[in-house]
């Protein structure tokens, strides 16, 4: 009776979804390619007009400038200067990340303190710093604090006789001997401490006695550090003023100091907010369970709340670390010889601008990618295993 529905007529080409999808994508691709081609064509034409090289051969030219605190001489190739700038960027970024995390965590916890004064100070710190441009803080730190308020070397401040503070930089007590040996001993110490904590935890698990893992680990670390230090015949020195210069210890450049302090202060105010939010995001029952077990407030924070808070905070923290690394490029405005400053100087000295800055951008991109890989790794390690 009822006739079968006739086979659907062939969908015309201009109404076929599959065709449309690909057509649309090809159009987008074509537009993007055309734009790139236009930019590239302009670049080629403009470069040819003023005969500027477009390749990376400028890296072999002599740099014609020196980097303070480094024995690179003027005839060294630009390549070495870039490498040194890269190291300086890494230096300020790594030290900055460590201190910003510590300070930010402390301030974040302080914001949730039951102590009114502490809580208010922490809140004021965060609200003031977060709402001021980083560049303004950096300019203030450099021009107003380091270059203007710090005394000249003749009447340097000597707090506790441990530090020498002047407008030529900050000198701190430091170890003598090569950095490599220091690094080696520190690594041995860390590995030994790690093994000891593992053993202590295992003993504690099987006997039920308190582990004291952290105390034992720290003890082993200190013993190995001291023993290793004496065994390799090294000591450490205090800085002192010696005829208009500091001697002994380890001297931080004024620009390095200003950049580091600014980055730490600025980033820590952001980290504090992340830590505060993450602590508040830990389920209330966790804290109550800790109270029910009669844990001390410090133990509750250290063993129950913070580990879970950091699991929540990890992705946001990673973002802040990336921001800190990228913000270190502002060091160029106060003549800290990091990557951007090197690129700026070498372009000023006649290196082609586009390749030099492109190279700089690629290096930053590489650092960012590696940082996010590391952060993602820890994120996966910390992530709750859902069953």
């Amino acid at each position: 009776m009822s006739s079968l529905p006739s086979a659907p007529a062939r969908v015309p080409l201009w109404r076929d979804v599959r065709v449309l999808r690909w057509a649309f994508q090809l159009v987008v691709l074509a537009v993007v390619l055309a734009l790139l081609y236009w930019l590239y064509g302009n670049y080629q034409a403009n470069v040819a007009k003023s005969s500027i090289p477009t390749n990376l051969r400028f890296l072999d030219n002599p740099a014609n400038f020196t980097i303070p605190g480094n024995d690179l001489d003027q005839s060294a190739p630009v390549r070495d200067a870039f490498y040194q700038g890269f190291l300086n960027t890494l230096q300020v970024a790594i030290v900055g990340i460590v201190f910003a995390t510590i300070l930010g965590t402390l301030v974040g916890i302080a914001r949730l303190s039951q102590n009114f004064i502490l809580r208010t100070i922490a809140a004021a710190y965060v609200e003031v710093i977060r709402n001021i441009p980083l560049l303004l803080l950096l300019t203030f730190m450099n021009l107003a604090v380091v270059l203007q308020t710090f005394p000249r070397i003749e009447d340097a401040w000597l707090p506790l006789d441990l530090f020498v503070i002047s407008n030529r930089g900050i000198a701190i007590p430091w170890f003598t001997g090569s950095a490599l040996v220091l690094l080696g001993i520190v690594l041995v110490g860390i590995v030994a401490a790690w093994i000891v904590t593992k053993i202590r935890n295992r003993i504690s698990d099987s006997t039920g006695k308190p582990a004291w893992a952290g105390t034992y680990g720290l003890l082993v670390f200190v013993v190995i550090m001291v023993a290793g230090w004496i065994a390799t015949g090294n000591t450490f020195t205090l800085p002192f003023v010696d005829d208009r210069a500091t001697a002994g210890g380890f001297r931080l450049d004024p620009s390095f100091f200003a950049l580091l302090v600014t980055l730490v202060v600025y980033t820590s105010s952001h980290i504090a907010e992340i830590v505060r939010g993450s602590i508040m995001a830990v389920p209330r029952g966790q804290g109550e369970a800790a109270d029910a077990l009669a844990l001390k407030p410090s133990a509750k924070m250290r063993l129950i709340i913070l580990p879970q808070a950091f699991r929540i905070a990890m992705p946001a923290l990673g973002n802040q670390y990336l921001n800190l690394i990228k913000n270190s490029s502002l060091g160029a405005t106060i003549s800290y010889f990091e990557l951007t400053q090197i690129a700026q100087i070498t372009v000023g000295n006649g290196s082609p601008a586009v390749p030099a800055f492109t190279l700089t951008l690629l290096v930053y991109l590489g650092i960012s990618l590696i940082t996010s890989l590391i952060v993602n790794y820890f994120n996966r390690r910390l992530a709750l295993v859902e069953r």
């Binding site: 987008v28 102590n115 009114f116 609200e127 560049l135 160029a332 690129a343």
Partner: protein, 394 residues
């Protein structure tokens, strides 16, 4: 007494903390007070106030800036007073006064400070004009609500007018004086507003592209976003400063402010895209499915169902992005020598009258205050908005 025991001296350790940090707080507050009222030499700000606020803007055209600010105040107050409030609680008069003081006290204090620093009678008139603009806006907002309720005027019309008028004024100012004579705090605000407005549609497109099922579009959008987010803004600005003329025909090579706007727009678009993507992900799958069940096509589902909800969810994050863009406009001074307020602030300490006398404290403190009040007020407002929109509660 109980308050003191509970909040300051819970235990011995707590008491020590209170005393140490209390002493620090008193010392810092005293130093600040001393600096502001006793040792601070604010004549450098008084002399250079105009330079700090508007740069070398032609003085005979300054009324344009003033009129724009009055118009902005008018439209902002009209827009915010017209929006529906929560119906469940009608706060008391004292609570409302307290609320207004909290919201506008800081801005008004800054306004009074600026008028005092400027001296003379003209700034006072402008201050009164701005207050008049705000009151007129409030009035319009109130009547508008009753008119709109009765005549069912589409809301869109109002929103369009609210956006269009300030932009018209900015365009007017733009056409009447050359952009490169702009400077000071005005240019920070101008760059921030223009860039956020321009980057918004681009960011939305990139976000849609990144979540698209079309592979080529997705790869292109993702590449762009990740490349930009991996690059420091400062280096991009430097690159624009020395290299933009290579990429466009020579006769088109733009001035520094145009370059700054270009970079800020392209840069912010990538971050806006990530914010909008977050918003799109927060819209539940059921919304899309409901759209499909109604037989809507992909573009209709996106623009009528998911995108509006996503955009509402990300308004606070958008304001956060705007604040950070606002603060980042200082980089244009360092990288492109735009005469923005921080650049002016360091430059005026090198004037003959002030050179080498350590005026940098006063100068930077003033610039910092401008930014701090601006950002702080905006972040406060964003928190209020967040509460009112009920983000995370629906």
């Amino acid at each position: 007494m109980t308050w003191i025991r509970r909040n300051l001296f819970r235990s011995v350790w707590d008491g020590i903390l209170s005393i140490v940090f209390g002493a620090i707080a008193v010392y810092v507050l005293w130093t600040l007070f001393e600096f502001v009222f006793i040792t601070g030499r604010w004549e450098i700000i008084e002399v250079n106030l105009l330079l700090l606020l508007v740069g070398r803007f032609p003085e005979d055209q300054l009324w344009l800036v003033g009129t724009s600010i009055v118009a902005l105040a008018f439209w902002i107050s009209a827009a915010s007073s017209g929006s529906p409030k929560s119906l469940d609680s009608q706060p008391s008069l004292s609570a409302r006064i307290l609320d207004s003081v909290q919201r506008f006290g800081l801005l008004s204090a800054l306004g009074v400070l600026l008028i005092l620093l400027a001296g003379g009678i003209t700034p006072l008139y402008w201050g009164l004009a701005i207050i008049g603009g705000i009151l007129a806006g409030l009035g319009l907002g109130k009547t508008r609500r009753s008119i709109a309720a009765r005549a069912k005027i589409p809301n869109l019309l109002w929103h369009a007018a609210i956006i269009a008028v300030p932009i018209t004024f900015i365009a007017l100012t733009l056409s009447l004086s050359t952009l490169d004579s702009w400077g000071g705090f005005l240019i920070n605000f101008y760059i921030a507003i223009i860039s956020i407005v321009l980057s918004f549609p681009l960011g939305v497109l990139l976000a849609l592209g990144r979540r698209s099922t079309l592979p080529i579009v997705r790869v292109l959008a993702t590449t762009y976003i990740e490349l930009i987010r991996g690059a420091p803004l400062f280096v991009l600005l430097l690159l624009a400063g020395v290299a933009l003329e290579f990429f466009v025909p020579t006769e088109l090579a733009p001035g520094p402010i145009f370059r700054a706007v270009t970079v800020f727009t392209l840069f912010t678009a990538a971050y806006v895209a990530e914010i909008v993507r977050g918003g799109l992900q927060s819209v539940t799958q059921g919304q899309t499915e409901a759209g499909k069940a109604l037989g809507l096509g992909t573009s209709k589902i996106t623009f009528l169902i998911t995108l509006p909800q996503a955009l509402r969810n990300v308004i606070p994050a958008q304001i956060g992005q705007f604040i950070s863009l606002f603060k980042d406009t200082t980089l244009a001074g360092a990288a492109l020598s735009v005469l923005e307020v921080l650049n002016v602030g360091t430059a005026i300490t090198k004037q003959d009258d002030f050179l080498g006398q350590g005026y940098i404290y006063e100068s930077l403190a003033f610039v910092g205050l401008l930014f701090w009040v601006g950002s702080y007020v905006m972040s406060r407002e964003s928190q209020r908005l967040e509460k009112r929109l009920g983000v995370g509660q629906r």
